[in-house]
C-alpha cells in the first residue's frame, strides 16, 4: 500500500488541532496508510513570503528529512502546499526536494484527483459558505477563477456536494481574497482587516451559518473578525465538514 505522510502546518498544529485530527481521521477512513512524522515544524512560507527565502534552508532540509520517504504528502493547507511546490529547495538533498515538490498535495486535490472520492458518507446539515483561498484556487487550481474565460469547475464543491444536508450558499464575490496574506495581516493591518470584514459580510448577507475553506489561515483571520463582531457565524476547516456525521 502507498504510504501517506501527513503534513500539519505549524499554526494548525498549535491553534487548530481539530482540523489536523479531521484530516487524519478522514484519510484513515478512506483506508490509507497515514503517518505523521513527529519531527516536522513548518513549510517555511512565513519567512519566504516576507522576503527571507534565503533563511529557509534549514527549515527546508528538515522538511525533506521528515517527508522524503513517503509516496504522497498530504496537508490541509493550500497555501503551505503551494509554497512547497514552488519553493522547496535544499543544497544537500535536491533530488528528494524535487520529488517532494511533485508528490505533495493539498487535501482537497488529493481527495478529488488522486483518490477520486465519489461517496464520502458525511453529514452536515447547515448553510455553509465556501471561502476560496487564493493560493489554493489560483495557485493549485482547485477551482476555476472568475478572471479567466474558461469553463467552471470546483474541487471543493465537488466534495461538499457529497455531504448530506449541507446547503452551499452563493456569494456576491465568489473568489475575493480575505486579506490574510501571511505577514500581510499584521504589516498591513488596516487593509487586511477591511478585506476580512468585507469577506465575512458577503457570507453573512447570504445566510451562512458556517464558513469553510481549504486554508485554516484565512479562516483564522475571518474567525478573529467574526468573534470581535460577536457574530454567530462559525468557521470550520473543510476537513472537519468532510469528516462530520
Amino acid at each position: 500500500m502507498k504510504r501517506v505522510g501527513l503534513f500539519i502546518p505549524c499554526y494548525v498544529d498549535q491553534f487548530y488541532p481539530n482540523a489536523g485530527i479531521a484530516t487524519y481521521q478522514l484519510l484513515k477512513k478512506l483506508g490509507l496508510d497515514v503517518t505523521y512524522p513527529t519531527g516536522q515544524t513548518c513549510c517555511g512560507q512565513p519567512m519566504a513570503n516576507s522576503g527571507f527565502e534565503h533563511l529557509t534552508g534549514d527549515c527546508n532540509q528538515l522538511f525533506v528529512d521528515n517527508f522524503a520517504e513517503f509516496d504522497y504528502i498530504v496537508s490541509p493547507s493550500g497555501s503551505c502546499v503551494l509554497h512547497l511546490k514552488e519553493h522547496l529547495h535544499t543544497e544537500k538533498s535536491e533530488p528528494q526536494a524535487a520529488a517532494i515538490r511533485t508528490k505533495v498535495y493539498e487535501l482537497v486535490e488529493f481527495l478529488v484527483d488522486v483518490l477520486q472520492v465519489k461517496n464520502l458518507k458525511a453529514k452536515f446539515p447547515y448553510k455553509v459558505g465556501l471561502h476560496q483561498s487564493c493560493h489554493g484556487q489560483r495557485g493549485l487550481l482547485l477551482t476555476q477563477m472568475s478572471e479567466l474565460v474558461a469553463p467552471y469547475f470546483s474541487k471543493p464543491q465537488q466534495l461538499l456536494a457529497q455531504v448530506e444536508g449541507l446547503e452551499l450558499i452563493n456569494l456576491k464575490r465568489e473568489d475575493e481574497c480575505c486579506g490574510f496574506g501571511g505577514t500581510f495581516c499584521v504589516v498591513e493591518e488596516a487593509v487586511s482587516v477591511k478585506m476580512g470584514k468585507d469577506r465575512v459580510k458577503d457570507h453573512q448577507a447570504n445566510g451562512a451559518e458556517y464558513i469553510t475553506g481549504a486554508d485554516m489561515s484565512c479562516l483564522m483571520h475571518m474567525e478573529g473578525i467574526l468573534k470581535r463582531e460577536n457574530s454567530n457565524v462559525k468557521v470550520l476547516h473543510i476537513a472537519e465538514i468532510l469528516n462530520a456525521g
Binding site: P17, G51, H54
Partner: protein
C-alpha cells in the same frame, strides 16, 4: 505624494479611517472589474488573444533595439522629429527646449503616465510655463493639486461633491453643484477655450509601430486629437517599451486594452499619428528612464509588457481598499509595485509587500505579466539588499531558529499557547496589530502533535 516619506501601510491606514469612502471606492472599482469580466466573456477567444498579445510583447522586448532603430528611421522619413531621453530629467529638458524654441509658454496636455513618471508638469511650472491637463479626470486632480490615483481613472478617489467644490473654486460653477451633467459642461467650456488658444499640445503614446513609424493614442474624450489637431507643435512622449512590431498587431491590443480597462469594446478614439500636417511640427520623445535596466533583470523584464490598462488595479483587493495614493508612485496598484522598485529600491521597499499575493492581477493582465510572482521576487531582492526593518530581520531570525528545530518548535508552541491561555493580556493589547480589530484564536488544550502522540503512537 511621491515626496512623502510615508509608507503604504501608513497611508492605507489614513485612507481606511473613513470606512464609507473605502466601501464606495471598492464598490466603484469592483463594478468596473465586473464590466471587464462581462466584456471579456463575450469573446470566446479571449485567452487566445491574451496569449497572442503576450507573445507579441515578448518578441518586441527581445528585439527592442532593432525595432526602435527601424521605428526611428520610418518616423524621420515621415517628417517626425525624433528625440531620445536617457532619463526623466532629459525628457523634461527636451520638452522645455521645444517650447522655448517656439517661444510658447502654455501647453495643453492629454493623458500620459510617462510625463507623470517624469514629473513634467512640476518641472515646466517651475520654469514659469502653464500646463493644462485636458483629460477630465487629470484636470480634476490637477486642480486639486494631487497626482492621479489610477492610471485609467485618475480621479476615481474623488466624489462628485468634491469635484463640484473644485469647479466652484476654479471654474466659477455655482457653489454646491454636484450634478455630473453640469460639471462636465463646465469642464467642456473651459477645455474648449484651452484647446483653441494653446499653440503646443503634448500627448502620450499607447502603441508605436516599428514597421511604419506611426503611433497610436487612445482616449475616451478625444482630447488628444483636439489638442494635437489645433496646435502648431505636437509633442508625443513615449517609453521605449511602447513599440509593437507591425501594424497588423495593433488589432490584438486594441481589442484587449479597452475591455481590460473599462469593459468597453474599444476606446472611443484610437487616433493614428503618422506625419505632421502642413505647417505643423511633430516631435516624438523616446524615453528610457530605467527601462533598459529593467530589461536586464530577467525576473522583472516582463513588467515592461504592460499596456497600462489598469485592470490589475481594479481587480486588486488591496488597491480597492487602500487607494492609489497609498502607493506613492506615478503608477499605483500591483503593476506600480513591480515597476517602482526598479527605479528606487529604498524609497519603494514597502510596495512589493502591499499585496496578499492572491494572484488576481496576473489573471486579468491582458499581456499575461506574472505580476504576483514578481511581487514575491522583489521581496527577496529588497530584503537581500538590506531594506527590511531591523525588527523584521530579528523576528525572521528567531522564526528560522524556532522552525529549524522540532524541539525548540514544540517548546515555543507550548509556551505560546500557555501565554495565550493564562496571560492573554500579554498579547491582547494595542502593541499587537492582530488584536487591534480581531480576536486571537482560542487556545486548544493540546497541539495536533500532542494528540497524535497520545492517540495514535
Amino acid at each position: 505624494m511621491s515626496t512623502t516619506a510615508k509608507t503604504h501601510p501608513e497611508l492605507s491606514e489614513v485612507f481606511n479611517k473613513d470606512e464609507q469612502r473605502v466601501n464606495w471606492h471598492d464598490e466603484t472599482l469592483w463594478w468596473i472589474r465586473q464590466k471587464r469580466d462581462k466584456s471579456a466573456h463575450s469573446i470566446p477567444e479571449w485567452e487566445v488573444l491574451r496569449e497572442k498579445a503576450s507573445q507579441i510583447k515578448n518578441n518586441a522586448l527581445s528585439n527592442l533595439a532593432e525595432y526602435l532603430v527601424s521605428f526611428e528611421e520610418k518616423a524621420l522619413a515621415n517628417g517626425i522629429i525624433v528625440h531620445w531621453a536617457a532619463d526623466a530629467q532629459e525628457h523634461n529638458q527636451i520638452v522645455h527646449q521645444i517650447l522655448q524654441k517656439h517661444d510658447i509658454r502654455q501647453l495643453v496636455k492629454s493623458k500620459s503616465m510617462l510625463t507623470e513618471e517624469c514629473h513634467l508638469n512640476e518641472y515646466l511650472e517651475k520654469q514659469g510655463l502653464e500646463v493644462i491637463d485636458s483629460d477630465l479626470g487629470e484636470r480634476i486632480v490637477q486642480l486639486a493639486k494631487e497626482p492621479p490615483s489610477h492610471i485609467v481613472l485618475p480621479c476615481i478617489h474623488k466624489k462628485k461633491e468634491e469635484i463640484g467644490d473644485l469647479f466652484h473654486q476654479h471654474l466659477g460653477v455655482a457653489a454646491g453643484t454636484s450634478d455630473p451633467q453640469i460639471l462636465t459642461e463646465a469642464a467642456r467650456v473651459h477645455l474648449r477655450e484651452t484647446f483653441l488658444t494653446r499653440r503646443a499640445a503634448l500627448t502620450g503614446v499607447n502603441f508605436a509601430i516599428a514597421e511604419t513609424g506611426e503611433f497610436v493614442v487612445c482616449t475616451n474624450e478625444g482630447n488628444a486629437d483636439m489638442g494635437a489637431h489645433l496646435a502648431d507643435v505636437h509633442i508625443a512622449c513615449m517609453g521605449i517599451e511602447k513599440i509593437i512590431p507591425k501594424r497588423k498587431h495593433l488589432g490584438v491590443f486594441l481589442r484587449l486594452l479597452a475591455r481590460s480597462a473599462t469593459g468597453q469594446p474599444i476606446t472611443t478614439y484610437s487616433s493614428h499619428f503618422k506625419k505632421p500636417r502642413a505647417g505643423q511640427e511633430m516631435h516624438l520623445v523616446l524615453v528610457d528612464n530605467g527601462r533598459t535596466v529593467q530589461m536586464g533583470r530577467e525576473d522583472f523584464r516582463a513588467s515592461l509588457k504592460c499596456i497600462r490598462c489598469g485592470a490589475c488595479m481594479n481587480t486588486c483587493p488591496v488597491y480597492r481598499r487602500s487607494g492609489g495614493h497609498s502607493y506613492h508612485y506615478a503608477i499605483s496598484g500591483p503593476i506600480g509595485a513591480i515597476l517602482a522598485p526598479n527605479l528606487d529600491r529604498e524609497k519603494y521597499a514597502d510596495l512589493p509587500f502591499a499585496s496578499t499575493l492572491c494572484g488576481s492581477c496576473s489573471n486579468v493582465c491582458p499581456v499575461k505579466i506574472d505580476i504576483h510572482q514578481q511581487l514575491y521576487k522583489w521581496r527577496q531582492v529588497i530584503v537581500q539588499e538590506g531594506y527590511a526593518t531591523s525588527g523584521k530581520k530579528m523576528s525572521m531570525k528567531i522564526m528560522n531558529y524556532t522552525l529549524s528545530s522540532p524541539g525548540v518548535y514544540k517548546t515555543a508552541g507550548k509556551a505560546g499557547r500557555w501565554v495565550l491561555k493564562y496571560i492573554p493580556f500579554a498579547v491582547n493589547n494595542h502593541f499587537n496589530p492582530w488584536y487591534k480589530q480581531r480576536e486571537m484564536p482560542e487556545v486548544p488544550k493540546e497541539s495536533f502533535g500532542e494528540w497524535y502522540k497520545k492517540n495514535v503512537k
